[in-house]
Each structure stands twice: as structure tokens, then as C-alpha cells.
């Protein structure tokens, strides 16, 4: 019995590190999500969104944001793979969670969804700022749009906005077009222009502005037009993904089920685009789409199969790599025509687009340049919405060996002829000189 116990403890301690990890190509499934709420009522009022996550196999752990027992990690291991912050008004998290803990969580490759709202707390704003997104500083400001608001019988102040300026990316929003506008009500944010990792997914119309709807506008609003972002995403360099929005209510059942009609447009949609938009976006944020992995990087001389230790200048070589995309359940071949390889030493000497066989295998053959040195095969693949691939493999290139140059150059025949006729003459002269009388 005691032996069994030891085995049990040992196996747990071996397995434990593998149980909770960020998205990893080895174990992409079985993901656990911590959902922090201001109030448990959100669990029921936003249940459609949560149910769609649950139905895709996510294990949601609902906690109050000020619960003193919450923690993201224990004994150095992260307990969750992703964090959803549906607690716009929280001033201080309970337990061991604080701003730094959340930033560390993301820095170690975990995903994050933040929903703020009018009157969002400083803490939530700070988390967003760390992600490269700045909410309007005016706490009472909301996004107002007098030309593309959602027609509604009860909302007359045009803060309920029908947004339809989506990012054009199938990988982020799914291949199915979102027909109905997305309802948004909340605060707008702008992106830090120096941050190249953050993208606007849903932006406001040019007529929108961010202001307090109840007071007179005396100074120009800090955010106007399409610089206002409703929903933004970040893909960090470590492939952690972040989704930020200024509206918690856009996730609510009410908005999911609401019919929508954009002002000035005659079409009335039975259902708003929120459900499709946010579900597709959550698929992206939780790596069910757009996560690439590259395996089997190979290169060899044309006609051979083994990888050489070095190449000689002017060799013909073949380079190949297999690229797959995670589909939520399995790794599917990735098909694209813009994957490029560089043969690189300080700067690319050769840059070629790889050909693919539609089954994930990308290959190309080219001639090694006539410059020797230590080169790299580099694949720096960056595409909107996809995780970036950065492969590099070092390979030295040597010049010709002394005996690999051309012998018996025709141009040199006169020299050869001169030398040998000289030698023949010498041979004859030696007879003449010694034995002639």
C-alpha cells in the first residue's frame, strides 16, 4: 500500500509540470481559463459567451476578482492557461494577483481577454496600457456616434453603436463574413503608434468621438474618428495573445440576441454580429486559429539526401520545411504562397518564395552564392494574425579548394608549349654539347 502511495506521488510530481502550461505545440488541448468577475451575475448574464467557450472544451473557473484565494500560479507553476478579466470596476485584485502578476502571466506566453466598461478602474486601465492600448482618460467618456449608431427603441443617446469596420483577416475573424454589425457600448481606446504588435480589429466610424454624453463638449475630444478602436488584439513576440475591448456588455446575452439595425441602413438584422464576431475572435485568442508550427527543416545538395556540414560556393542546394496550423483539434497543413526563405549573412544574399505542395511541405532549390562565410537559412514568417515563425539554421560556405579550379586552361597552352619545347631542346642540347666533335 505504501509503495502504491509513493508511486502515486512520484507520478503526480512528474506529470504536474505538464498539466498546466501555456499553449505549447506538444499539448495544445486541455486548457484552463480563469474568469475574474465583478459579480457572479455576469456569469448568467453573459452565459452565451461562456457556454460557447465551454462547448469548445475550455475549463472555465469563475472567481470574484476580489476573492482572497485567487492565484495565477502555485509553486512556480501556472494554474491556468488563459485569463479573462470581466471585472471592469475592480480596484485591487484579491489573492496574489496584481498588475505585475498579470504581466508576468502574459510574458510567459499565456492569453488574456480584458473587457473594460464605462467607469473602468485605474487597475484595468493600467493592465491595458501595459498591453499597448490606452483607454480614454476621461472616466465618464463613452464612444458616441451620431451617424452609425444602432437604431433602438430605448437607447436614444447614440452610445449603442453598430460597428462594422472589421479588420480584413480571415485568420482573426474566420472565413465566414460577418454580415450583421456588432453592437458596442462602452469606452473607446487608441493604440500606441510605436507598438507594432497591437492591431485594431473593430474600429469606429470616422464620425465617432469619445466624450461624456451628458455634458457639453467644450474641448476637442481626445479620441475621434477611426483612431478609436472598439476591439483590439495583441500578439506578443512569445505568441501570447491578448484581446482588449472597452465594452463588457458586448459579450452579454442581451447584445448577442439583440436584433440590430444600423442608422441610415434599411436592412434590419435579426441577430447582431456580436456572437459570431466574439466567438471567432476568442478562437483566435485561444490559439484555435492562426497558430503555426514549423517542423522538419531540411537542406541538402541537389541529388543527395544527407545534410552536409558545409557547402561550397556555387553548389546547388534544396531547402525544405513543413508548416502546420493548429485547428483546435489537430495540426492541419498550412497552405500559403508567401513563405520565404533567406540565405543570409549580415544581409540576405538570396531571398526566395518557397513552393508548397498543399500538404504543408514547403521547398525551394537555389545555387549557393559565390561568397564564402557563415550563412544562415532564415525563415522569418510574419503574417497578419498568425503567430510568427522564426527559423534559422547556420551553415558555413567555403570557397573552391586549390585543386578544384580548372586545369589545362587553353589560354595557357603557349606557356606549356614554351616550357616543354625548352625541356626537349635541353635534352637534345645535352647530347650535342657532350658528344659532338
Amino acid at each position: 500500500m505504501g509503495k502504491l502511495w509513493v508511486i502515486f506521488v512520484a507520478s503526480i510530481s512528474i506529470i504536474l509540470p505538464f498539466l498546466c502550461n501555456s499553449f505549447s505545440p506538444e499539448t495544445p488541448t486541455d486548457r484552463r481559463v480563469l474568469v475574474l468577475l465583478d459579480d457572479f451575475a455576469i456569469k448568467s448574464s453573459h452565459s452565451l459567451y461562456f457556454n460557447s467557450l465551454k462547448s469548445r472544451g475550455f475549463d472555465l473557473d469563475f472567481k470574484l476578482a476580489d476573492d482572497p484565494k485567487i492565484a495565477l500560479q502555485r509553486y512556480g507553476q501556472y494554474l491556468y492557461d488563459a485569463l479573462i478579466l470581466f471585472c471592469p470596476s475592480i480596484e485591487r485584485f484579491g489573492g496574489s494577483i496584481d498588475l505585475a502578476a498579470i504581466i508576468n502571466f502574459v510574458d510567459s506566453g499565456h492569453d488574456l481577454i480584458i473587457a473594460a466598461d464605462a467607469n473602468a478602474s485605474d487597475l484595468i486601465r493600467e493592465v491595458a496600457t501595459e498591453c499597448g492600448v490606452e483607454f480614454d482618460e476621461d472616466p465618464s467618456a463613452m464612444v458616441i456616434d451620431h451617424t452609425s449608431y444602432a437604431v433602438s427603441a430605448t437607447e436614444g443617446d447614440h452610445t449603442l453603436i453598430a460597428g462594422d469596420d472589421f479588420i480584413k483577416s480571415d485568420v482573426i475573424l474566420g472565413s465566414k463574413k460577418i454580415d450583421a454589425p456588432v453592437l458596442f457600448q462602452g469606452i473607446g481606446h487608441s493604440l500606441n503608434p510605436s507598438n507594432s504588435l497591437v492591431l485594431k480589429v473593430l474600429s469606429a466610424s470616422p464620425a465617432a468621438y469619445s466624450a461624456n454624453p451628458k455634458s457639453k463638449l467644450s474641448t476637442p475630444p481626445s479620441l475621434t474618428g477611426s483612431a478609436i478602436s472598439f476591439v483590439s488584439i495583441v500578439q506578443a513576440r512569445n505568441n501570447a495573445r491578448i484581446l482588449i475591448t472597452g465594452s463588457l456588455s458586448m459579450f452579454s446575452n442581451g447584445f448577442f440576441r439583440s436584433h440590430v439595425q444600423k442608422a441610415g441602413s434599411p436592412t434590419k438584422h435579426e441577430k447582431s454580429g456580436n456572437e459570431q464576431f466574439l466567438t471567432e475572435l476568442s478562437k483566435w485568442a485561444f490559439h484555435e486559429r492562426g497558430h503555426l508550427k514549423a517542423v522538419n527543416v531540411k537542406h541538402h545538395k541537389v541529388g543527395e539526401t544527407d545534410e552536409p556540414a558545409l557547402y561550397r560556393i556555387n553548389d546547388d542546394l534544396e531547402y525544405s520545411v513543413e508548416i502546420y496550423e493548429w485547428s483546435g483539434t489537430s495540426w492541419e497543413p498550412y497552405v500559403a504562397d508567401d513563405v520565404q526563405v533567406q540565405f543570409y549573412m549580415m544581409s540576405p544574399y538570396v531571398l526566395k518564395t518557397l513552393l508548397n505542395n498543399k500538404k504543408g511541405l514547403y521547398s525551394i532549390s537555389f545555387k549557393v552564392p559565390d561568397v564564402y562565410g557563415v550563412f544562415q537559412f532564415k525563415v522569418e514568417y510574419q503574417k497578419l494574425g498568425y503567430t510568427s515563425l522564426s527559423l534559422s539554421k547556420q551553415i558555413p560556405v567555403r570557397p573552391y579548394r586549390h585543386n578544384e579550379y580548372e586545369r589545362f586552361i587553353p589560354t595557357a597552352y603557349p606557356y606549356y608549349g614554351a616550357a616543354f619545347s625548352m625541356m626537349a631542346g635541353f635534352f637534345i642540347f645535352s647530347f650535342v654539347h657532350l658528344y659532338s666533335k
Binding site: D122, R237, Y349, F427
Partner: protein
């Protein structure tokens, strides 16, 4: 040549590790994108956490402050109910869930419900037949049966009655009483036998009453000090059951103390800004903590059950009942089955309670267009949306929101009655008072019941405040754009603008000039209109935007841009600026964003310390994408002369040899000196074979041998040549000396 190449290669190998290290460093230095942190100094006043969180639910209905609108239960609830309560494999998980689903369908009057009667009946009779069933199981089985109405045979029901009676006698906690007495009440209604009663009703009543606290809350058991409003609701329902099961009249003093408890409980009721009232238990540790919804719903259930069985009226202000109704309507459509059931069941209790039935005033639309001459429509319903008794709705006031002015409804319009349209059940005010212009208002309605005895049954709330947006088309006139000369203010160019049309203007100005844009806004009633958004946007070619608020005096809107004062703000950027004007308001039906045209600005050169324009965001689509292919350009091969030329010169190099041979022959060369004796002759032959071998070695060196092989062989051949050469040469020297001396 070869050595030189090898040296280069060797140096490269030495450098390789260094290069490797450098590349690795580059790859692994992963910097988090440090974004600029801005401290937000503005203090934000916030509500309590839970309150704010719950208010998120209210976003749909909460518009401003005290004035808010509640809609009765509608079809969205019905479709949501069918989504939430979907049986798996023809049955619900438990009898409790079955009851909740069926009760919800019953209240909402959903006809097209999933048919679970057969499976429900089977599991009900199973539960009732089992001797091991707890009172809780029996309670929910009977509850479900109260809707499914399956047949329970006499014997089973008798057995259940005795079991529940013993459970009542042995009960020690509130929940024990609740389940067993609840079960008895249910079975009393379901069987034909009328002899279900409690022998010692008063005794049981007192033992339940013993759990009550002085503040109107109740405890679950005598050894648990925590009291809650949720338990109070359960207790009230239990006590109502006891009263209905009592064989004789109850002691009235008991009922009166209980009524006092109820009013004490209602003193602890909590309130939202919009008038909704609710109960919330502030239990911190309790893992069985109930949310405000289930707590309030429990109290409502207990209260209505108690009011139904007692003779006298429960003395509660009608406003509180109305506030509770508002609370349940305010949560919208819950996404959780339990919450949904609680909401619907409580509303059903309120719909037909004996305390007072709340009437809800709602508007199909709170946006009224002056231009389209919309009429004000008001609907008065019970919470579940059924018709109200005959009544009149009066508009008693209208306040411009944001200002504390006196009512805009003038005296002659005061107490304006709305006409009732019996067909649609809507109260209509066909034309708005003259004093109402476009804007946002708070209308105050009053409901007057026609029959005075209804006033005891129904509660309407004194006055209902509703936010109303009155919209209309705003006339835009006299729009002009002018470029003025700096000092004199004389007009350089002036152009009329048609803000509704599509024409664009193109202007030019330098930094000494000014730009003026003006227009007038008039409401349909001819008054001045101040839109919330009146913004002028100048956008430079480099996408840098400058935004100005257009100010107004009365009807006239005007903005004067003095470019001399703006050069710094414009970062000294000359060039084309697009001009956009945005005029918009919530009540303006023709809100617009118009590209007026562009202005060519000629600004001075920037001084050295001028501020730099901020970086503009990069277009995400152009950031990625394939790069142009690079192909290496190989070194061109060295140029060689044609082969024929080389061959010709090869021929020329042979010529001297031929000349030499011809000369030698002409001189009459002979080999007379060749030694005639055998030994010297042998050495002579060997010597020349040696020379030939060395020359052949040179040819071989040229063809295939390397330097080391050649030198090795040359060494042997050299030694051999020295030996044989010495012998033959000394022989020849001796021979010639002999000739000389002779």
C-alpha cells in the same frame, strides 16, 4: 594560390564561433514591448463593487438616474426559455429541474414546449414509491407533479402523508420543516382525500417561529447563528403551508407577530438608483451563499404564499412591491436556468398576489420624431404582460434633462390625458405639447385607476419618470467658408457651402491669413440648436489630425482659425489639409460628417527646436506580406582569348625548338665523342635516361603529381644523376685532356 585560399578559410573557421554567439544573442534577446505608462490622475468615483457589477446587467434599460424604463416580459423571454430548458434525451436532469422548466413554460404560456410528461411521470412515481426518498425528494416530486398531474395511487399517497407527518414531528431545522410541510401542502392539493392536516399546527408554527430573529431574518437551525433573508422567505412559505394545513383556526396573535416580522424584514430592503428594490444576504463565508436574485425571489415566494392564506391584509407599502417587480424586470433575460426560473416564478407570484399587484408602465419607443410627427404611446401592463384594469394615463410633467427648470408642460396642457386605444391596448398622445422641441426630456406619467376598489389591489407608483428623446431634422443654413487677410480682416476668398450636398471647395492660405467657417442651426420649431458634436477636423497629407470645437452664439456657429497662432500646433507642416466638419447630436436626425474640401497651407520653415510631429500608426496590412525576391548576382567568369589564338601561339612557341634542331643539323653535329667502351657508354646512357626521367617527372608534375611527390622522386633522381653524371663527365674530361696533351 592554394595556400592563400586555405589561409582565408582557416581564418573563417576561427571566426565562426564568434558569429554564432552573436546570432544567438540577437535571437534570444526578446524584449517585451514596453509601452508608455501614463498615470491617470483623475479620480474616478465608483459605486460599490457588487452594485456596479450588477448594474452592468441594467445597461440595456438604465438610461439615466432615477428616470428609467422597465419592459414587461416579452417574447424574447419565451425564446430564451426554450433555449435554456432543453431536456437531454427526453428528460431533465432532476425532478427539481423538471419542475423549474415546466413551471417556467406554464407561466410564460409556451405551448410548443418539449414533451417530457411520460418520462417525468415515471420518475415521479419512482421517487414517490421509494421508501428511502427524503422529504426533499418527495417535495420536488410532488412539485413537479403539481404541473404534470400524473395519477398517484391512494396507497402511495397515504404512505407519503404518514411519512411526511413523522418528518414534521422529527424536524429540527428550517429546511426539514420546509420540505415536509411543503410536501404535505402539495399532496393535499393533489389527492382527493381531504384529511391531510396537521394535528398540532400551532405547536409546529411556534417551533418554526423560534428560528426567527428580531430583524425579520431567519436562521436555518437553532444552533446556527447566521440569519438570512433567504431563510426568511423559506420560513414564510413554510408557515403559510402550516396555516393552510391547520385543522382549526390559528391563534391570531401568532399571525400578527409574523406580519410585524415581515415589515421588519422589508426595512432591510436595498435599493438601486432606478427604483428597483431587492434583498441581499451579506453572508461572507457561507458556501451556500445566494445571490440577490434567489434571495429576493425566495422572499417574494414566501410573502405571496403567506398573504394568500391569511385573512387580513399584509400591511406593506405598494411601492415596495413595485420596486421588487422592477428588480426582476430589470435583470433582462438571465442566461442561467436557475436565475431564469427564479425571475419568472417570482414575477408570476407578483402577478396574482394578494398584497398588491404591480402595474408597469412601458413605452414601445422612447424616441419620438418631431419631423415625422410621432405620437407618444404608452402601454400599461402587469409584469407578465397581460392587460391592466381600466385606467387613464396622464402626462403631468416634462423636464428638459440636464436642467432643473420647471416643467415644460404649460398649465393648459397640464394633466394631459392620453387617449386609450382599446384595440391595441395603447394609450396615445397624438401631438406633443408646443413647448417640446427637439432634445432629451424626462416625461412624468401618472396612472389613475378608474375603479376605486382596484386601488387596493393594484399598485402603480405615484409618478413614473421616463426619459424621452425628441428628435427632428435640423435646418443647416448660411454655411460659409472664408479666407481672411490677417491684419485687415478683409475677405480674400469666400465660398458658400452646401452641407447637404456633395460639392467640395479648394482654398489656399498662408500663415498670415485666417480661415473662418460659419453656419446656422435651427430646430423644426425655429429655435437655436446646440449639437453635442460640432467639430472641425483638419487632416494633413501625413495623416496628422487637428480637431477644433466649433463654438456658437445663439443660432450662429462660427470658428475662426488664425494660422499664425497655429503654426506650432501644425508642426510647421505645409501642404494640403483636408477639411471635415462633423455636426451631430442624439436628437438630430440629420447628423452629418462632411468633407468640405481642402486648403493648401503655406507655412514658414520650422525653426530648429520646433516640435516634431508624433508618429502615426502604420497600416497593419502593409506591415506584413512577402518581400521582393533577391537573387544573387554571380561573378562573371574571366574572359579568355579564343582557343585558336592560344593554339597559334602554341605553334609559335614550338618554332625556336625547330630552329634549334635545324641549326644543329646544319652545323653537322655528330656523336663521335660518345664513349666507345662499354662502361662509360653505359654511364652515358644512364645519365641521359636520368635527365629524361627528370624531364618526364616535370611533365607528370604538371599532369597529376603534387609538389611533395615530385620532390621526393626528384631527390632520388638527383642523387642518381650526380653519381652517373660524375662518372661520365669525369670520363669525358679525362678523354679531352688526353687529346690535348697528345
Amino acid at each position: 594560390m592554394a595556400i592563400d585560399g586555405n589561409l582565408h578559410y582557416f581564418l573563417l573557421l576561427l571566426l565562426t564561433p564568434l558569429l554564432v554567439v552573436r546570432h544567438f544573442c540577437e535571437d534570444f534577446t526578446e524584449k517585451r514591448n514596453t509601452t508608455q505608462t501614463k498615470t491617470n490622475f483623475s479620480h474616478i468615483s465608483r459605486m460599490a463593487r457588487s452594485l456596479a457589477g450588477f448594474l452592468a446587467l441594467f445597461l440595456f434599460v438604465l438610461i439615466c438616474g432615477a428616470a428609467s424604463l422597465f419592459q414587461p416580459i416579452s417574447d424574447s423571454h419565451r425564446s430564451a426559455a426554450l433555449e435554456l430548458f432543453t431536456p437531454t434525451h427526453g428528460s431533465f436532469k432532476s425532478l427539481e429541474e423538471t419542475y423549474e422548466a415546466l413551471r417556467t413554460f406554464e407561466v410564460l404560456g409556451i405551448g410548443k414546449k418539449p414533451d417530457v410528461t411520460a418520462t417525468a411521470c415515471r420518475s415521479i412515481s419512482e421517487t414517490l414509491g421509494l421508501l428511502t426518498s427524503t422529504p426533499k425528494d418527495l417535495f420536488y416530486a410532488l412539485k413537479a407533479n403539481s404541473i404534470v398531474k400524473c395519477k398517484i395511487n391512494e396507497k402511495t399517497s397515504e404512505g407519503i402523508i404518514t411519512r411526511l407527518n413523522t418528518a414534521v414531528n422529527g424536524a429540527s431545522s428550517l429546511l426539514d420543516f420546509y420540505y415536509s410541510i411543503g410536501g404535505l401542502v402539495l399532496i393535499k392539493d393533489q389527492t382527493s382525500k381531504a384529511d391531510v392536516y396537521l394535528t398540532d399546527a400551532e405547536g409546529v408554527f411556534r417551533s418554526v417561529k423560534a428560528f426567527s430573529q428580531s430583524d425579520g431574518r431567519w436562521r436555518y437551525s437553532s444552533n446556527n447563528p447566521e440569519s438570512s433573508a433567504f431563510a426568511a422567505g423559506i420560513a414564510l412559505e413554510t408557515l403559510a403551508g402550516i396555516v393552510s394545513l391547520a385543522s382549526s383556526e390559528m391563534d391570531q396573535s401568532l399571525i400578527i407577530t409574523l406580519k410585524n416580522d415581515i415589515s421588519k424584514l422589508f426595512d432591510s430592503i436595498e435599493k438601486y438608483d432606478d427604483g428597483a428594490l431587492y434583498f441581499d444576504d451579506k453572508l461572507v463565508d457561507g458556501h451556500e451563499h445566494q445571490g440577490p436574485l434567489s434571495t429576493t425571489s425566495s422572499v417574494v415566494r414566501g410573502l405571496t404564499a403567506f398573504a394568500a392564506v391569511t385573512a387580513g391584509s399584509v400591511n406593506l407599502p405598494g411601492d415596495k412591491i413595485l420596486g421588487l417587480a422592477k428588480f426582476f424586470l430589470g435583470i433582462g433575460v438571465p442566461g442561467d436556468a436557475k436565475d431564469f426560473f427564479n425571475q419568472i416564478d417570482s414575477l408570476a407570484c407578483l402577478e396574482s398576489n394578494r398584497v398588491s399587484i404591480p402595474l408597469i408602465l412601458s413605452l414601445p419607443s422612447t424616441e419620438l420624431s418631431l419631423t415625422k410627427k410621432d405620437s407618444l404611446k404608452v402601454r400599461v401592463n402587469t409584469v407578465l404582460g397581460s392587460n391592466a384594469p381600466p385606467l387613464t394615463v396622464k402626462l403631468v410633467g416634462a423636464f428638459s434633462s440636464g436642467s432643473k427648470d420647471a416643467s415644460l408642460v404649460e398649465s393648459q396642457y397640464e394633466m394631459q390625458e392620453l387617449k386609450f386605444d382599446a384595440e391595441t391596448g395603447v394609450h396615445i398622445l397624438s401631438s406633443l405639447p408646443k413647448s417640446i422641441d427637439v432634445g432629451s426630456y424626462t416625461f412624468v406619467f401618472e396612472i389613475v385607476l378608474h375603479e376605486s376598489e382596484h386601488e387596493k389591489v393594484y399598485v402603480t407608483g405615484n409618478q413614473t419618470k421616463v426619459p424621452i428623446f425628441v428628435t427632428g431634422l435640423i435646418k443647416i443654413e448660411n454655411a460659409e467658408i472664408t479666407v481672411l487677410d490677417g491684419d485687415l480682416g478683409s475677405i480674400e476668398t469666400q465660398k458658400k457651402l452646401d452641407l447637404a450636398g456633395q460639392n467640395v471647395v479648394s482654398l489656399s492660405a498662408n500663415h498670415l491669413q485666417k480661415l473662418r467657417i460659419s453656419f446656422q442651426l435651427t430646430t423644426p420649431r425655429g429655435r437655436a440648436f446646440k449639437p453635442h458634436q460640432a467639430l472641425l477636423k483638419l487632416r494633413h497629407e501625413s495623416k496628422i489630425e487637428h480637431i477644433f470645437v466649433v463654438g456658437n452664439s445663439g443660432k450662429q456657429f462660427e470658428i475662426l482659425l488664425n494660422f499664425l497662432g497655429l503654426v506650432e500646433k501644425f508642426f510647421y507642416l505645409s501642404g494640403r489639409y483636408d477639411i471635415e466638419l462633423a455636426v451631430g447630436d442624439a436628437v438630430m436626425e440629420n447628423s452629418l460628417l462632411r468633407a468640405i474640401g481642402h486648403i493648401e497651407l503655406d507655412l514658414p520653415e520650422p525653426p530648429e527646436k520646433a516640435p516634431r510631429p508624433p508618429p502615426q500608426p502604420v497600416d497593419p496590412y502593409s506591415r506584413y506580406g512577402p518581400k521582393a525576391e533577391i537573387t544573387h548576382i554571380f561573378r562573371a567568369p574571366e574572359k579568355h582569348p579564343p582557343k585558336e589564338l592560344s593554339l597559334a601561339f602554341l605553334g609559335l612557341t614550338i618554332l625556336p625548338l625547330l630552329g634549334f634542331l635545324v641549326g644543329v643539323l646544319r652545323l653537322g653535329v655528330n656523336l663521335k665523342n660518345f664513349p666507345s667502351k662499354a662502361i662509360p657508354a653505359t654511364f652515358a646512357i644512364l645519365f641521359h635516361v636520368g635527365i629524361g626521367a627528370v624531364l618526364l617527372l616535370y611533365v607528370l608534375f604538371w599532369l597529376k603529381l603534387d609538389l611533395f611527390q615530385t620532390l621526393k622522386l626528384l631527390g632520388f633522381l638527383g642523387v642518381f644523376l650526380v653519381l652517373v653524371g660524375h662518372r661520365i663527365l669525369s670520363h669525358l674530361a679525362a678523354a679531352s685532356a688526353k687529346v690535348k696533351s697528345a
